[in-house]
């Protein structure tokens, strides 16, 4: 049994320690907001946080998350009040939406470490998250909007 803290709730899962964290999040815990894209850490769709740092959950063994804090898109806020969620809605970012939870989770690390990102900073932070719909310009705008929201205290 592996003990996990996912989105501030405790779980105990009976899986092989090498099982990808993504499988456990989706199949065992039932949180389907995190997506399977490539299965080899190439696309970023499966991005979640372990102790606040982004990881590609499709290649991360669940054993790495034992005893640590896992945050998925569902845990970013309980009521869509996170600045990134607010900004994503305001900028109407998603098209098909499949990659967007990973995009937001990567952007969250960026804004935690850099509250005023330049375009170059956004490129450095987001270049591992692929969007087949090509929503990159809207993603960039949304990150800038979220940064402004955070600076003004306009969202939690």
């Amino acid at each position: 049994m592996i003990a996990l803290n996912v989105n501030r709730r405790q779980y105990s899962v009976d899986v092989d320690p090498a099982t990808p964290l993504l499988w456990v999040i989706r199949e065992n815990i039932g949180l389907a907001g995190t997506k399977y894209g490539c299965g080899m850490a190439q696309c970023g769709a499966c991005t979640v946080h372990i102790d606040g740092e982004a990881v590609r959950s499709c290649v991360t063994p669940v054993s790495r998350a034992a005893g640590k804090i896992v945050t998925t898109i569902e845990g970013l806020s309980a009521d869509l009040s996170h600045p990134l969620q607010q900004a994503w809605i305001a900028e109407d970012v998603p098209q098909c939406g499949y990659c967007q939870s990973g995009q937001i989770m990567s952007a969250a690390v960026l804004l935690r470490e850099n509250s005023k990102p330049t375009d170059s900073d956004i490129d450095d932070a987001m270049s591992g998250n692929i969007c087949r719909c090509g929503t990159y310009p809207r993603i960039r705008r949304a990150i800038r909007r979220a940064a402004q929201l955070m600076a003004s205290g306009g969202a939690k």
Binding site: M40, A54, V55, V59, L110, N114, A125, G128, N129
Partner: protein, 220 residues
């Protein structure tokens, strides 16, 4: 013990057989760099004392070891620029990964986002080892494009090697898990041109002979 044994062995060689004939009896020989050098020192036992100053032997040992540093498994994480490299053609890392402020990537693109403590099974899956990282930007330890002489002088210079002594350098190449990963790189990746034991032995030989650096025009 190591010093005494080393001295005794060299003395016997000089008096009775000549160094080359004795080495040939038990050791693995390399002729890289034009000199015959022995490479069967125990990999896990770093040189602790400068036992003999034999500049020619030191240079020959380093020249024999140098191709390991510029093999893709080693140089890909010792790039000249700010991006790690990938593949046997040492192309820039996919996803525009950057070195970052401490050599561990930037923002959500830190090395540990994808690289685990061990290799993942399957071709083209992210390789892994403990402490996966590049040298930090203030201590870049560039291997790409460096001559053997440049590599050697960089390795010896504490202002460029992270403040390491020669002893610590030898220890590093002999036992650091990220170094050792180069010889266990996961499916589909080539390994350096020398075995790790041979490489570490040559580096030990370089150090124990005084750690002189290559000086000929083509290697300088």
């Amino acid at each position: 013990m190591h010093i005494r044994w080393n001295w005794k062995r060299k003395t016997i060689a000089a008096l009775l057989l000549g160094a080359a004939s004795l080495w040939a009896g038990t050791g693995r020989l390399s002729t890289r760099g034009g000199s015959r050098v022995r490479a069967d020192y125990p990999a896990g036992r770093p040189a602790t004392v400068r036992t003999v100053s034999d500049d020619a032997a030191a240079r020959a040992a380093f020249l024999a070891a140098a191709p390991v540093f510029t093999h893709p498994r080693c140089q890909n994480c010792h790039p000249a620029g700010d991006a790690p490299l990938q593949g046997d053609d040492s192309h820039p890392h996919a996803q525009s990964v950057k070195r970052g402020p401490d050599g561990r990537g930037k923002y959500g693109m830190k090395c540990s986002a994808c690289h685990q403590l061990t290799n993942l099974p399957g071709a083209n899956m992210p390789p892994g080892a403990p402490n996966w990282h590049l040298p930090p930007p203030n201590m870049r330890m560039v291997f790409v494009g460096r001559t053997p002489g440049e590599l050697c002088r960089q390795l010896k210079d504490p202002s460029q090697n992270g403040g390491k002594t020669i002893h610590q350098i030898i220890e590093h190449v002999a036992s650091d898990k990220l170094v050792l990963w180069g010889w266990n790189p996961g499916e589909g990746r080539t390994t350096p041109p020398l075995g790790h034991t041979e490489f570490a032995g040559l580096m030990n030989q370089w150090a124990s002979n005084g750690a002189a650096c290559p000086e000929t025009a083509e290697n300088r």
